[in-house]
């Protein structure tokens, strides 16, 4: 389902296998478990860490396991609810995060990519696609909140969510959704890893990094269930460092 390996200061989270990496209960649990391990290992090792998430094969992730849900609204609701804490884990992760988009990312898969700090994508093929409008599913509220937090150009947001635009890497860069584009899957993965190493080398304090990240989009954090630290707690942290 997924593997976590540590290469120096960088944790590489791989969605394994040639399939669509559909987000069902099992994969979501595995991902949450792996992310928690990375956070724990980083906490022990001290400041300076980063996460790269990558999918093997043609897909980053093609979204929730709607095959499993079938016609059951209850099951679909379960998957939507199960994905929410995974989104929260990423938004609260005490280290920089990079999504290495070597394959398609649709719907819930696109959401996961957006929950990372940076997106590095192959330019030769692959799309980012919020497919919900095309398949006739509304966006869960937390999807909307994360989209609004990360895609701040009104037209880009409209094109992605309301028009189901299939966004290729170069266009994604212009829209402010993709940070860097490389010509092949292999280069994309390699450059994403190098970039993550550079971020880890800044030796940022993980707790502070996560706090600053969350302060950029409190509404999205609330929508995925993260409780933000109060100013009082932040000031105490500051005082404790003096």
């Amino acid at each position: 389902m997924c593997t976590l390996e540590q290469r120096g200061r960088v944790f590489v989270l791989t969605l394994t296998g040639d399939g669509e990496h559909r987000l069902g209960h099992a994969l979501i649990s595995s991902l949450r478990s792996a992310i928690a391990s990375a956070a724990e290992a980083a906490a022990k090792a001290g400041p300076g860490a980063a996460l790269v998430t990558v999918g093997e094969g043609r897909f980053f992730s093609n979204g929730l396991d709607i095959g499993w849900a079938g016609t059951s609204r209850a099951r679909l609701g379960e998957l939507v609810d199960a994905l929410r804490p995974l989104a929260a884990d990423l938004l609260a992760l005490p280290m920089p995060t990079v999504a290495a988009l070597t394959g398609h990312a649709s719907a819930g898969g696109f959401l996961l990519a957006l929950c990372h700090d940076y997106r590095i994508m192959r330019g030769d093929r692959g799309v980012l696609y919020m497919s919900e409008v095309d398949i006739g599913l509304p966006l869960p509220p937390y999807f909307g909140a994360v989209l609004r937090a990360k895609i701040t150009s009104a037209n880009a947001l409209r094109d992605v969510a309301l028009r189901g635009k299939k966004v290729k890497a170069a266009e994604g860069k212009e829209m402010g959704i993709v940070d860097a584009v490389y010509p092949s899957a292999a280069e994309t993965a390699a450059e994403a890893f190098k970039f993550a190493e550079q971020l880890a080398a800044r030796k940022w304090n993980g707790g502070v990094y996560a706090s600053i990240r969350m302060s950029m989009f409190p509404e999205a954090c609330r929508s995925v269930g993260i409780v933000e630290e109060s100013d009082e707690e932040k000031r105490k942290h500051f005082a404790s460092k003096l």
Binding site: P96, D117, D231, R235, F238, A239, K241
Partner: protein
């Protein structure tokens, strides 16, 4: 006219009330300097526009952590409160405001610049730098709100806050954070800011209306600082 301790000077140039943060140091913001700047801002009555500039290498390098280190912890909130009060004063000021970022502006210094209606920055030297991530300091909510409202682009905001990018004027203009980069020395930047302020003053806008519109455009920041400021004038009737 000089303010107490000569932490900043004040002069009128035409219709423009020009405040210069003085000293060869890095213009750290502590309660004393913040109070001096607030006094200088309060002295702007009757002017058509306001400019805050710095002399030397720095606009401001942020909060005075040395002061915080030695001050009792119950006073830390005072520095935060005094900074909010200054932002409240700028938000409720009945005239357009321009920041002349004549040198480095970091952390609270960067936020101070953003709290103005317009920012001009020295092109040849100096960085805009949200240093908190590198310094290991968490960002309190109203500060984050100010950046959210004044830097609405998610990528620019991430690079500033989460990556601690040191932005030159050209970079800041490209990303829409700063309005103009000005070639030359400190005095050239000040002159350009004063010229811009003079152009804004020449529009002859009703100052109270300017202040009300400003608060309506950035209501979340205003709501988080308004109780700290000098106090509002009687509210104008709304149409």
């Amino acid at each position: 006219m000089e303010s107490k301790d000569s932490l900043c000077t004040v002069e009128r140039r035409g219709r423009v009330h020009l405040i210069t943060i003085t000293g060869a140091d890095d213009h750290r913001l502590n309660p004393t300097r913040l109070a001096a700047i607030r006094s200088a801002v309060a002295a702007s009555t009757g002017a058509g526009a306001l400019v805050i500039a710095g002399e030397g290498k720095y606009f401001s390098n942020g909060f005075d952590t040395e002061w915080v280190r030695t001050a009792p912890s119950h006073l830390h909130a005072t520095m935060d409160g005094t900074f909010r009060a200054l932002v409240a004063d700028l938000f409720s000021l009945p005239m357009p405001t321009v920041a002349a970022v004549t040198g480095h502006a970091a952390a609270a210094g960067c936020a101070l610049a953003l709290a103005h209606d317009a920012v001009v920055m020295r092109g040849s030297r100096g960085f805009l730098y949200m240093s908190e991530v590198d310094a290991g300091i968490k960002i309190v909510d109203f500060f984050a709100e100010l950046v959210r409202e004044k830097v609405p682009d998610a990528v620019a905001r991430r690079d500033q806050l989460l990556r601690g990018d040191k932005m030159t004027a050209a970079e800041a203009v490209r990303r829409g954070i700063v309005d103009a980069a000005v070639d030359g020395g400190v005095e050239d930047v000040v002159e350009a800011a004063v010229a811009e302020a003079e152009r804004l003053a020449a529009r002859g806008w009703d100052g109270e209306v300017v202040a009300e519109i400003r608060k309506a455009l950035w209501p979340k920041v205003w709501s988080k600082v308004k109780d700290h400021g000098a106090g509002p004038a009687a509210p104008r009737p709304r149409l």
